[in-house]
Amino acid sequence: MAMSIHHLQKNEKSEAVTKLWITVVCGLVFMGIKAFEYYTKFEHGLLPGRLLDVAHAHAQHANLGMYYGFYFCMTGLHGLHVMIGMGLIVWLAIRAKRGDFGADYFTPVEGVGIFWHIVDLIWIFLFPLLYLVG
């Protein structure tokens, strides 16, 4: 994402388009991993709140449902934003391919870039919070 802005600033339009598509592919890979993760969680009865299948999940305590409440809300909202970001980047890639952006106009790319990186920033904190701590 950041590199596509770099290329646009230097008016290297086709490189910028490639970098945007690479970003979309990375987003897809991330969402694919998340889909797989959710699927296995559902399979093991690891569901939020009251839905937690205590027996099936071999949970020591029903409180585990609270963790999964947070887990699904936080990763779900983050995932939703990743999908919004991917949609926006596809839109940018199409417009960049059309030649709408260049060294003198790349504000939409920069704006979406800021959004994409704040979503990334949140994941930097969510990852240790949900997967490592506790």
Binding site: M1, A2, M3, H6, Q9, K10, G49, R50, H61, A62, N63, G65, M66, A103, D104, Y105, F106, T107, G113, I114, H117, I118, D120, L121, I124, F125, F127, P128, L129, L132, V133, G134
Partner: protein
């Protein structure tokens, strides 16, 4: 920012961050992610739990966040106003977290009625 001598408005005044910096930041982020996982392994599987586990994980996360902010979001080369705007948002987020943490740490242990 960088060159203030040309007064053309808009995108022209933007600093072009070199590609090498982006690649270096990317590798740094990957290395720090591996480091987080490594420390987690050390604290949980070797030392079987440590009070340092969470602070270390979040310290590394904060450092990674700073890298993303400075380079990917270009805040390092941006106007101080934008830094102030980000800092304001972050301070209020921290304020919200502080009250939540106070609540959690002053609670009496109880069993959930879920």
């Amino acid at each position: 920012m960088g060159s203030n001598n040309n007064h053309s408005s808009g995108n022209h005044s933007h600093h072009i961050i070199p590609k090498e910096i982006y690649t270096r930041v990317m590798w740094a982020l990957i290395v720090f992610t591996l480091l987080t996982v490594g420390f987690h392994y050390l604290f949980h599987n070797v030392m079987h739990g440590s009070v340092l586990a969470a602070p270390v994980a979040f310290l590394i996360a904060a450092f990674k966040a700073a890298l993303v902010l400075m380079f990917f979001m270009g805040l390092k080369y941006d106007k101080p106003e934008n830094r102030a705007i980000f800092a304001t948002g972050f301070i209020f987020l921290a304020l919200l977290f502080i009250f939540c943490v106070l609540d959690i740490y002053t609670r009496v242990a109880q069993t959930s009625t879920l």
